[in-house]
Symmetry: C2
Subunit: 338 residues, 2 copies
């Protein structure tokens, strides 16, 4: 029998998560029964929202259980099958446990075509982060040509797509990111009009104001905190703010405090809306089609940070909170066989 | 010649405004020229938004000038006329200086019918505060029967109308106000389902949660601060928050700080939007018609606090910030002659 490895939630983090919140477990893979497939994990997605699931606070997705496997988006290959519709060699995308091999009954798995794009893209630009950028920017931001869009977490999996879609829509795009390399990438590779390294900027308020001489019409926020405060000071009348993530607070042990947005929203008749990608599930099919077209046409550039090795999954996840990744962070666990 | 009195802005307040920020001036009324009318002020509106105009910070309306008359909504009677369309005896509503008698060329004045309702109603339920309640609740709140609506500043000129329209729309309505008398008024006279005296409540979070067993779908906010924090903790998924006023911060000398709303908006996919009544100017005609109908049908109760005497205008204005008024605060300056 083949040996298998699983990553369990060992304990709930207080504040910043650490390696010891995770635990590796070895097991054996049971024989397949009728109707089951054996999946081999190829690419594992690590995402900021998973921090929320490590806590037991009520949120929009159920928390992980201590002592149980962590789960998330995984691209996997069917390496053995007693299932009618999922033959050996098929590649699937699903919400799956952090496990090298997974025995599965097939429900909730989506087959992906290995020919459209690299397989890992289905965890990123053609998957949840790409769809998040698409539905959030277009529904809440409602970008119009000539408007100014600011994106925080601009070099992340969502931010890179937001900025590029905003460019496709004819907007001036300003990205905020956390390193000079990221800033260079946004401006030189992705066509952002301006990008700001918030970690080395003396005066973030002035940096935003200078980069947005006509003010800010749309703010797509992945981060929160003082970056948001700076953007709020430059908002135009009738501005729209999409709250997609608030990674600067995810490791807080108390409710976040700071400048109140409400008086500014009042003064500017501005709109602020939180969302999760699944709020717009009925738009996914069209969104994925348009994203794939833009990728094929070269209008959407896509970058991944690919870490190798199943054992590196916790480390890659933790790296999200120190900004290690440029673009979508994935972990490559195995080569495709078929 | 008749003597006239005017109230000028004497100085800009730092923090809470006081009587000495205002100054009375006596003058004489010049003879009318062709095309002019002489207006006699009957009812003067005092409103929280005027605090903003006393500062020189950029806002949605221009600041008052030091040494110049304060102005705002006034119902006035034409007591002399050399104007084609405004005969002696007509009653008009306009944005006018705080002055007993006003020489005016007629532009921007709206004639009101003295028969629809008491004249002072045109400063309240049929005027700016009523329209504010109507357009904000219906456009941003989008109330549906069975939903729970919380209103802060519930006993004020806007809040009383918001709650009653929400009842007309079939919602459960919870008001937050600052005295037991106001609470009793909201529940017994206006039909609010619950009302909370935030000044005497030990635990406002618990009070809101108890009053909203099904959570909060719509929050119409006139106040801000800890009342808002408490409501945010009870928000339902897809809640809508209309930011109409933030009176708890108007006398702040620094930007307001406190709990961040953004992480909660994210978790609840909630919407927050600031507005000013003029954003929805194209809806005023229909809104005023529907409000008048509801008043006539007895579906909308309306209460005013009427202070008497031109000299009392500053005091009545200052009373807004200590919650002296129940319903719309107006100052009666003179009897109608015609």
């Amino acid at each position: 029998m083949m040996k298998n490895k699983t990553i369990l939630l060992a304990s709930r983090p207080k504040g910043m998560p650490a390696e010891d919140n995770f635990q590796f477990e070895e097991s054996e893979i049971p024989a397949l029964k009728d109707g089951e497939v054996l999946l081999k994990s190829l690419y594992v997605s690590v995402d900021p929202y998973m921090r929320g699931r490590m806590s037991d606070a009520k949120s929009y997705v159920a928390p992980y259980e201590v002592g149980q496997p962590v789960n998330g988006g995984i691209v996997a290959e069917v390496v053995d099958s007693k299932h009618d519709k999922l033959p050996k060699g098929a590649v699937v995308l699903g919400n799956l446990p952090w496990q090298q091999y997974i025995v599965h009954q097939g429900e909730g798995l989506n087959q992906v075509s290995p020919d459209v794009a690299p397989l890992s893209y289905h965890l990123g630009i053609l998957g949840m982060p790409g769809l998040t950028a698409y539905v959030g920017l277009l529904n809440i931001g409602q970008p119009k040509a000539g408007e100014t869009v600011v994106v925080s977490g601009a070099a992340g999996a969502v931010g890179t797509v937001v900025g590029q879609i905003a460019k496709i829509k004819g907007c001036r795009v300003v990205g905020v990111a956390g390193s000079d390399d990221k800033v260079a990438y946004l401006k030189n590779e992705l066509g952002f009009d301006e990008a700001i390294n918030y970690k080395t900027t003396d005066d973030i308020n002035k940096a935003i104001a200078d980069a947005c001489p006509d003010g800010v019409d749309i703010y797509f926020d992945n981060v929160g905190g003082e970056i948001s405060d700076a953007v709020y000071l430059s908002l135009n009348k009738f501005a729209r703010i999409a709250i997609c993530g608030q990674i600067s607070y995810y490791n807080n042990t108390k409710p976040a405090t700071g400048m109140r947005a409400e008086p500014i929203l009042l003064k500017k008749s501005a709109l602020m809306k939180g969302f999760i990608v699944s709020d717009y599930a009925d738009e996914f099919a069209n969104a994925a089609k348009e994203l794939a077209t833009w990728v094929k046409e070269g209008k959407l550039q896509y970058q991944e940070t690919i870490t190798e090795g199943f054992e590196q999954i916790p480390t890659a996840f933790l790296g999200l909170f120190s900004g290690e990744n440029t673009g979508k962070q994935v972990v490559k666990v195995a080569e495709r066989e078929g």
